[in-house]
Symmetry: C2
Subunit: 331 residues, 2 copies
Amino acid sequence: MKNVAALAGVGIKTVSRVMNGEANVSAATTARVNEAAAQLNYELDVHAGNLKRLDRRSRTLGLLVGSVANPFSGAMHRAVEDAAIERGIAVFASSMDDNPERERLSVTAFLRRRVDGLILTTATSSQGYLLPEQSHGTPLVFVDRAPVGIDADAVVSDNAIGAATATRHLIEHGHRNIAYVGDSHALQTARERRRGFQEEIGRAGIPTGDIAQLEDLHSEEAAFEAVTRLVAGEHPPTAIFSSQNLVTVGAIRALRRLGLQHRIALVGFDDVELSDLLEPAITVVAQNPRRIGELAIERMFARLDGDHSAPSTIVVPTTLIVRGSGEIRPS
Amino acid sequence: MKNVAALAGVGIKTVSRVMNGEANVSAATTARVNEAAAQLNYELDVHAGNLKRLDRRSRTLGLLVGSVANPFSGAMHRAVEDAAIERGIAVFASSMDDNPERERLSVTAFLRRRVDGLILTTATSSQGYLLPEQSHGTPLVFVDRAPVGIDADAVVSDNAIGAATATRHLIEHGHRNIAYVGDSHALQTARERRRGFQEEIGRAGIPTGDIAQLEDLHSEEAAFEAVTRLVAGEHPPTAIFSSQNLVTVGAIRALRRLGLQHRIALVGFDDVELSDLLEPAITVVAQNPRRIGELAIERMFARLDGDHSAPSTIVVPTTLIVRGSGEIRPS
DNA sequence: GACGAACTTGACATCGTTGTCACGGATCGG
DNA sequence: CCGATCCGTGACAACGATGTCAAGTTCGTC
């Protein structure tokens, strides 16, 4: 900046004014400064400015997701980024892999860089460790999973309702021996989906002792193995509810490997690309990750703009998409 | 930091030393400082430190991809992030949507934040605008597409070779009327893939006048429309080579809609999730986005660690995955 | 026991920018 | 035509950290 000032023959403060588009700089001076800046390829250093600036905003957000390689996270990320870029805000993205340690590591990395706010999916059992940061004024918006041990904004899917809808759909098609195949019990979303499943099973008067409930399947491969064993067992289910997209894909692969895809019904939680073209096509309870991202960033901006109302949790509805696999009747 | 120093009863420089894990601080002092820091929930401010630090490293990278919602970008991103997190480096991610303007916007946003390096997929016709930044010492690694107008490291797929392999595969299965269905001609990768296709067609002695070459299909919908019109035309191809994953999905949907998926062969460039379970399963030339990301970040770290050798372009091989759709013979 | 080396510590300038304030000149209303 | 206001501008301190350097302390060796 000093160099630009020297080249333009003005004070550094004037350069600062021009670079920030402040008023009350003559057109001639503005032109001279801009020319000098262009000649020297000068770019403002936002961080140096932040040091002295009163609002201390880095115009940077931290986004923590399960994995940036997961399509659900990708859609959310994209929505966040689209809104952020319009306000000149850059987004740090990080994957925590449902690993509490990695979550803490990423959050620390974000905080060290003085992000203006955090949008996060968490894997820790409690997010109380963020309390000091929150009271220090950093807005937090939790996505996908509601926070524990801290009161903050959240945007989540209607996990229990969606799971119940999927389960009811199977029950309405005549099933009573429905297996639950799901992700880690440590995850709040997985627990909620299981709860929705169980409650619906209960409402239908089906004894829970009769049904298999498999948990802690954290990858496609694990789900494949588990479902393979399940349907080859002695009391195989006539229908399966899978509570997460990787698990759904594992289940699809297992059923097809055994040639059972037309005999055992399947409803998945969360949509999967191309699943509408399979034979049978997969009935799912679709989430709306893009919408979750949109609402989260909207909430974030409201907070950054001074909204001090009580934290709220927004529930984004899921949608049952009937395609075939969920309408198979028990044989 | 001042507060921590005061609470611990030491000078700020000592706090700085403890927080940065420097040697030559007594155990007792270290403990006192750490305790004070914990009590005040103090986190280092990397940007303030950068101002004075000699290396001026923000320990931050900028990653520009087509879209963070695209699985190809997601896999690349994940590989970059995994390596970065180990070095305590945070990653800004941004989508440029093959929009040159958005590319410039994102790059500016990154540079303003003084990233230590840029890993980028570009949409501009020339990246010469990065020359000053490069000579200023910021390492650049281009991914997916080789740079134009600037000499820098790059990691790309063997686009022409892969396309030729796919085309040869179709020719070997008896096809001579093979359509090319591809993305925007403005994209270097799309041009390369088309070149590979054309050269292979030429090698087989097939007159180019006979074959349809559709371009500028930038979404699944556009590809769907184009393929629908193509195969309904008066001289429909017996095989299709689609040069990008969204285009492939559009083509799949079009063929199935018309019930032609078992009559017209299809080979896609870039793999698509679940495409192995379709009927027929889709034969593809798979890229290796994770590997591209790994090599790119490796290159980046080498540069940051002082490697001043001449820029190189690493070509990551593609793999033909035979699944069914590409082995349909002409009727 | 003395002397130098090694260790521990803090004062202070400084990084690039913005907030504050003050100054001089132009403009305006009566 | 004069005083009041407004506009354009720059000098300077300060933001939170680190580099430099010097001072005080401890330790080891002959």
